[in-house]
Amino acid sequence: MALDSKVPEGVLADKWTKHKGEIPLVSPANKRLLDIIVVGTGLAGSSAAASLAEMGYNVKAFCFQDSPRRAHSIAAQGGINAAKNYQNDGDSVHRLFYDTIKGGDYRSREGNVHRLAEVSRNIIDQCVAQGVPFARDYGGLLDNRSFGGVQVSRTFYAKGQTGQQLLLGAYSALNRQIAKGRVKMYARHEMQELVVVDGKARGIIAKNLVTGEFERHSAHAVLLCTGGYGNVFFLSTNAMGSNVTAAWKAHRKGAYMANPCFTQIHPTCIPVSGENQSKLTLMSESLRNDGRIWVPAKKEDAEAIRSGKLHPNDIAEEHRDYYLERRYPAFGNLVPRDVASRAAKERCDAGYGINKTGEAVYLDFAAAIMRYGGEEAHVKGLKNPSDVEVKALGEKVVEAKYGNLFQMYEKITASNPYKEPMMIYPAVHYTMGGLWVDYNLMTTVPGCFALGEANFSDHGANRLGASALMQGLADGYFVAPYTVGEFLSTDIRTGRISTDSPEFEAAEQAVRERTEKFITNNGTKSVDFFHKRLGKIMWNEVGMARNEEGLKQAIADIQALREEFYADVRVLGAANGMNPELDKAGRVADLIELGELMAKDALERNESCGGHFREEYQSAEGEALRDDENFAFVSAWEFTGIPAEANLHKEELTFENVELKTRSYK
């Protein structure tokens, strides 16, 4: 099948308005005859379900948590971008568009990204109208902060809990429609199969996680708003339940997976402390504004620190290596995420890591504390303040800025970041890859749409901070509610979709058999045992640095792991009733298949771009070498049975409005 991105013709800035105007309308009377399933209630799903219901469609929404309000979006910390230019610092729709394309290392679609930048402004208006309590200044107007990779201040925030406040806003809009009876909400339900009838997505098989029952739900269109798949690495900053099952089931039914290997590894996370760790915790990007990143310049010092014989505060300034400032003098500690992560790995691999595992670097606030303290002392008119006084004043300022993060850090590590530098290391955070979608956000299965982190659309090979929340709400509030109309306008005479068809029967049967298989398997190892092993393979071979040999090995190892998993996994308990182990088994089974495809995708992309770094393609100084001549395309994979044998379809990327350049932060 030829991939048609369906990006409208015409001038970039007019495409969306023109397209919206041309989408056939569905009359209110006909909307009542159309059913839509929305899987997922994060920012993308909640906003889509609420908007579609408000427009008059019948909506059923699903999530696996006990409440829609607990979707993983709730955990987002730093903020949401919008081209409002309230700070009058030269921001504009075009600048946000350009920053996003460049930040993504020129691997995203111009048309989609421009639309995102356009609607970003409405998002903030909408959220404020809903009562989202964004941070404000003393004049009562909205405040902004800066994020990495850009030169303007366009990030709106609600302390370190922006995702929570945005999701509660979308949840309230959803609740309003549930109360009106226009959305039927199914919490603690998991989609386990997509049902395709006559080539169109017509429903899902969902498991009621409380009773264990399988339910058939039909609709005229299915929207997957099911989030990212970072948990394929076992350890990530994602919530424990985040998984790929919904997207993977769609993939198996014909939806292509795009750029699955594009993974964002966030540079500032709390390092792994032990074998029993279940997840990693992010320390927000905003910390890099004030923290300086370093490792000891001398290997002996690093060794002495690792063995507990030396304290970081005792290493003299000249024996510290502020390697980001050294390598990238222009951007210093504020280089984009992918660059910062690789640089940390490079130092640790070379033997300069500073915790017992050798995989951590320092994020140091001592200089910032003294600097702020000095300013405060000056403001207060203190003459010749002592270092102790200055430090105390500085700590107050830092506490006001980052208090909740410092406290979180101390709770987890039992170390006080005001007194000694934080230890950080990169961790898996976000997946740019996802289901391939066209301009209308429709996958290659007609009627099956993908929104939010679940699709691949806007961030290319590297996402900028504070842009995922923007994209989720853009897709859900302002894009999909219109673009589904194009597909549904042909369906107004279809009538209700029956759940008695052979397709529903077969889909349900498949789910029952999978479940039965796990319950009766009588293996010897827990699901986590396999998940952890998958994570190790992925992290070592498909993580921050990849090479041909390692990727080939990863494919072989994952295939062997999959066989072992099915032969030896042990799931106790029954199929009926609540059984989280059983549900986890199904999710891990899909993550194993996905891991294999990610390795395949990484193997085929013979260039380094954004989060995808192939060791063979780097400059003498270790910088990424992108290959626009041969790889300026989206890799869209078609499932054929074995993930590593998927068919590759290429969507060539054309750039008419920006010039392709090498990203340089030197």
């Binding site: 906003s47 609420a50 408000e54 948590q65 006990d66 409440s67 829609p68 309000r69 607990r70 993983h72 709730i74 955990a75 609607v119 409405n122 903030i124 208006d125 909408q126 404020v128 109208a129 809903q130 009562g131 309590p133 941070a135 404000r136 200044d137 003393y138 004049g139 009562g140 107007l141 909205l142 302390k159 995702g163 929570q164 406040q165 949840y171 309230s172 609740n175 309003r176 109360a179 919490a187 919530a239 339940g241 032990g274 029993n276 760790q277 997840k279 915790t281 979180m408 709770k411 987890i412 039992a414 302002f478 509610p481 827990s526 986590d528 106790l572 308990g573 009733g577 989280p580 182990e581």
Partner: protein, 250 residues
């Protein structure tokens, strides 16, 4: 460290439950409380015993999914933390730890330590929103300035994670702290004013229907609330409620 865990096991909503004892060794100080339970579950699976069921997701104190009554306290010892943020360094080798579900009539047990808190969703649905369509064609976000103090207070109320610790802690199983936080967020903002009266009446009504108890001003909820939601919100809600009932023509 070596611990003795006493854990509530209950196979289903209608079944009888009981405390079961599990000795466990090899627990590390750096483990979080839930990682300790993962570790136990892995051992139980190896022994062919069904793992303990408990709710959790984000594991960083923000989703409100984790619960647990640990040694008689909601979210265990320590203030302003959720169970998932509790670390084993708070305990010492040889300790016996009692782990029970959040108990309240309005929170029926689903299995083991997992309870049904959907009553909270229903309270929210009764009015926890501002009736604005999602077209995006509203007024500019900066058109109505909001005094910083009110904005900050609204934010503080809005940080409630809906965990239910307040209910589990309250001897009357009252949901006043939760409901008042949700109502206050809107009543402190200009956007929330047009529906303020209806909102407080409807949400309080729903709270009563769900079978939550009355508030007798003991204040235990505020102490155990992981987000430090203040009792001030209850006072504000009571004022709003009184005013709304007096002036409502319903």
């Amino acid at each position: 460290m070596d611990l003795t865990l006493k854990i509530w096991r209950q196979n289903g909503p209608q079944e009888k439950g009981e405390m079961k004892t599990y000795p466990i060794s090899g627990v590390e100080q750096d483990m979080s409380f839930l990682e300790m339970l993962d570790y136990l579950n892995d051992q139980l699976i190896n022994e062919g015993i069904e793992p303990v069921v408990f709710d959790h997701d984000c594991r960083e104190g923000i989703c409100g999914m984790c619960s647990l009554f640990i040694n008689g306290e909601a979210h265990g010892p320590g203030r302003k933390v959720t169970t998932c943020q509790l670390h084993m360094r708070e305990f010492k080798s040889g300790d016996t730890i009692y782990i029970e579900p959040f108990r309240a009539k309005a929170f029926p047990i689903i299995k083991d330590l997992m309870v049904d808190r959907s009553a909270f969703d229903r309270i929210q649905r009764a009015g926890g929103y501002i009736s604005v369509n999602t077209s995006g064609n509203t007024i500019d976000a900066n058109a109505i300035p909001v005094p910083k103090e009110n904005a900050d207070k609204a934010f503080d109320a809005a940080t409630c994670i809906g965990c239910g610790a307040c209910v589990a802690t309250c001897k009357n199983s009252s949901a006043m702290l939760f409901a008042s936080a949700k109502i206050s967020q809107f009543s402190l903002l200009p956007q929330g004013q047009p529906e303020a009266k209806e909102r407080v009446l409807n949400m309080v009504h729903q709270m009563d229907l769900e079978g939550f108890g009355n508030c007798t001003n003991t204040g235990a909820c505020e102490v155990e609330c992981p987000k430090g939601i203040s009792l001030e919100n209850i006072a504000r809600m009571n004022r709003d409620y009184l005013f709304a009932s007096l002036s409502s023509n319903k």
